[in-house]
Structures are given as C-alpha cells and as structure tokens.
C-alpha cells in the first residue's frame, strides 16, 4: 500500500521524505519569487517584526548595558595610559586647530563664493539604534529600531557620524534592515573628491579583517589621485545621495590592463563599534523628482 494512503483508524501523517520533498519545492519557489520580485517581503517582514523585533530591542539594550560595564572595567588601565598620550596630543592638536580654523574661514568664504551648500547638513535625518546584527558570520547587515511607521523607506541612505554606513534594503513597521557598504555583496559608485574621478567601491569579506574596503575601475590617466584622498558618493549613483564621505584611499595600484586603477579605502565609519546611525530621509529618486 502506498505510504500516503492512511489505513483505517490511523491518523493521517505524511512520511518525512515526502514532507521534505514538498517543503523543498516550497522553499525553492520562495527563493525564486523573492529573488525576482519583492511581493513577499512586506507580509513576511510585518509578521517577523511583530514577533521578534520587540524582543531584540529590549535584549540589545540590556546587552549593550552589560557589555559597556564589562568594557569599562577592562579599559580603566588602558585609559590611564591613553590619557597621558592624549594630553601630549592635545598640545599638538591645539596648534593644528588654529591652522585649521584659518583654513575653515577660507573654506567658508570660498563656499559662499561658489554657492556650494549641498553638503549633508541640509539633509533631514532620523536617528536610530542598531538592535540586531546578522546571525551568521558571512555578511554584515544589521537591523535598526525604526521602520516604515517612522518614515523610513527602502534605499534611504544610512550614515554614522560623517561617513556612509550603507542603505536600507528591507523595511518593516518598526524595523529596517541596513545593507552596509562593507558587506560582501555591496557596491557603491564613488568619486574622488579632489579630482572628480569616478570609481566603484565594493565590500569584501576578505579585506574586512584589515578594516578596509576595496575600490576598482578608477580611470586616472593623469596620475593625480594619491593615497589619503577623500572618496565620496558620486553624482551618478542611483541609490546614494551625492557627496557623502565614504573614506580615504589607503592604497592604490595600477590594474594589469594599464587603463584603470584599484586599491583599498579605509572607511570613515568604525563598523566594529557601530551603535547609533542616522538615516537620511531623502531618497535619491525622490530628490530628482523634486528637482524637476
């Protein structure tokens, strides 16, 4: 008799291998559907957010409190050492600061001259706290505690301090997933601030250990780009607002095709100790519509 047909008086059960087969097909179709469309993300993320996010929110608050306490104890000795070093640094910095202030006045006057006020002070931002990080060790995405009800939408840019962290890749009512720029499948179109040369910044799991990300496809025929140059998001990116600081070039090499250059960037954001982020509530697509 076929195992799928129950005998009389027996409870109807599906044998494991049939169940496995059915669910495999279900999973594969889910993969195909979610890979090609985003029809699934909304209902599922709502359910998931309802169940899990409040828990994550509470626990990560408590967890960060405890971790902070532990870190406090660990670092007292280190801090004393550091304190001495920092004191001597203060003197150096004061001198440097005076110089920089002079530069700043110059910059301000130049800015007024060129009417360049498109820096990111003008963007509206929402502060959010990171409540969960990727459960595996392969990718670097995380979840923040603000969602669509707080006005967050997919593809909004996320910053921390002055640097770019990533963009929103998924959103639920009270949470949103951030794909960071150091994530292995993230690519950002960037620009060298000094020379306006375009390049592509991509995250790489292998380089992540050294705290750097890689860039490629830099056309720099005049050899004007050098180490230490600032990289910002470029005008031609369709997801990222222009002019947000990504990081500084730490290493630059000529590619074997002799046309383009590649190298490494140290990001402006410390991704190891990220706790609070800012979400820019203006999307690139929106702002273009507004301009027109």
């Amino acid at each position: 008799m076929s195992p799928l047909v129950p005998r009389k008086g027996e409870r109807f059960t599906i044998p494991g291998k049939y169940l496995l087969f059915i669910l495999t097909i279900v999973c594969i179709s889910l993969i195909v559907v979610s890979f090609n469309t985003d029809a699934l993300s909304k209902p599922i993320s709502t359910v998931g957010g309802f169940l899990v996010t409040p828990l994550q929110n509470g626990i990560s608050k408590a967890g960060s409190f405890l971790a902070n306490r532990k870190d406090n104890l660990d670092t007292i000795e280190k801090l004393q050492e550091e304190n001495q070093k920092l004191r001597s640094q203060i003197d150096e910095l004061t001198i440097e600061n005076i110089q920089l202030q002079q530069d700043k006045y110059e910059l301000n006057s130049l800015r007024q001259l060129f009417e360049l006020d498109a820096t990111y002070e003008s963007f509206d931002k929402i502060g959010a706290r990171i409540i969960a990080k990727d459960s595996g060790n392969w990718f670097h995405s995380f979840v923040i505690n603000k969602g669509s009800l707080d006005g967050i939408e997919i593809d909004m840019n996320v910053m921390a301090g002055t640097g770019l962290v990533g963009r929103i890749s998924d959103v639920g009512p009270h949470w949103a997933k951030v794909l960071s720029i150091i994530d292995d499948n993230s690519n950002v179109s960037g620009m060298v601030l000094a020379t306006s040369d375009n390049l592509v910044v991509s995250g790489n799991l292998k380089l992540y250990e050294d705290g750097v990300i890689s860039f490629d496809k830099l056309v720099d025929s005049g050899d004007r780009v050098s180490e230490g140059d600032k990289i910002v998001t470029s005008n031609i990116s369709d997801k990222f607002l222009p002019g947000i600081l990504i990081g500084y070039i730490s290493n630059i090499n000529k590619n074997s095709n002799n046309l383009t250059k590649s190298g490494l960037i140290s990001p402006a954001v410390d991704f190891e100790h990220l706790e609070d982020v800012l979400v820019i509530t203006r999307r690139k697509v929106n702002s273009e519509e507004q301009d027109q």
């Binding site: 669910l23 279900v26 626990i59 990560s60 967890g63 971790a67 459960s135 595996g136 979840v143």
Partner: protein, 172 residues
C-alpha cells in the same frame, strides 16, 4: 501543543540571543551558531520530521531578517534538521559523542554549502581563506557553546517526556 509552543519559544529565543547578546561576546567578529545546535538537537531527539520543520522555521527567521532572498537559509536548515533526524534511532540520552559529532558535521555542512552558493558562485575562489577565517572559528565557537546549550535542551526534552509519561500519552 505544548511541545509546539516550547519549540517555537526556543527558536525565537535562540534567534534573538544569536542576533543580540552573542554579538556582544563575539571573538573577532565570529558568533556561534546556536540555531544549528537547536535544529540538530531537535532532529536527532525527536526524529526527522520534527527536525525538518524546526529547521525550516529557524531558517525562515534568519531569512526574513538577514537573508538577501527568502527561503535559502530555510532550505539549508531544513535539510540539516532532516539529516540529523536520520540518527534518531541510534541516539541515547546518555551518549554525548554522537551529538557533538553531529553538531560538527551540521555546522561544517552549513558552512560549506553557504560558501559554495553565496560566495563561490559569485567568483570568490579563495576557499582556504574562508575556511580558516569563517568556517573553522565558527565551528569551534559553536561546539564550545553547544557544551553549554545542549544539556539545557536535553533537560527540557527529558522534562517534556516525563510529563507525557505521567499522562500516559507515550506508548499508546
């Protein structure tokens, strides 16, 4: 019904632990994978069907929050739960060797498949790097944390079994 509720609570609490508390105690950015331990434990303790369904739910949870598409982790965890369920017949509660071996195999299998599908297919060929920097540390850390978590799951399993015995629901 009670077993279902316990399993659901376990899955959610393990997932929450893994994404929050464990991030604070990670060594060099590596987090133990206790969802694998849970799935595997349920597989060999309760049989292939339970392992399969529990794995599916754990994987789905991971997919919803962190997957780039839904269903991939669910598939991996489901197969791990199912394969572990095949060892249900040779599992004895007193034996610690089999669970540990199964945890090692499960985590390795997960690591390998994840690497092949998410990295190798995108042209990241440096397998030795990923093995020594991601898969191996995760394995060691997972096994260490399993020494803590497995006895808990075992206690819970025994407690539920005892309850069923008392009510005469077993062997009927």
């Amino acid at each position: 019904m009670k077993r279902f509720l316990v399993a659901l609570i376990l899955v959610i609490s393990c997932f929450v632990l893994q994404t929050t508390v464990f991030q604070w105690i990670s060594f060099g950015g590596i987090v133990p994978n206790i969802l694998i331990i849970l799935t595997s434990t349920y597989g060999f303790m309760r049989g292939d069907k339970t392992g399969l369904i529990l794995g599916l739910f754990s994987g789905l949870l991971v997919d919803i929050f962190f997957g780039s598409f839904i269903g991939f982790n669910a598939l991996l965890y489901m197969y791990i739960g199912y394969l572990n369920g095949k060892f249900h017949k040779v599992f004895y509660e007193e034996d610690i060797k089999l669970p540990i071996i199964l945890f090692v195999c499960s985590d390795l299998l997960y690591g390998f498949l994840y690497y092949i599908i998410m990295f190798l297919l995108r042209g990241r060929f440096e397998f030795s790097f990923y093995f020594t920097n991601i898969i191996l540390p995760e394995l060691v850390y997972t096994i260490l944390s399993s020494l803590l978590f497995y006895p808990l799951f075992l206690l819970l399993h025994k407690w539920l079994d005892k309850k069923d015995d008392r009510r005469g629901m077993r062997y009927v």
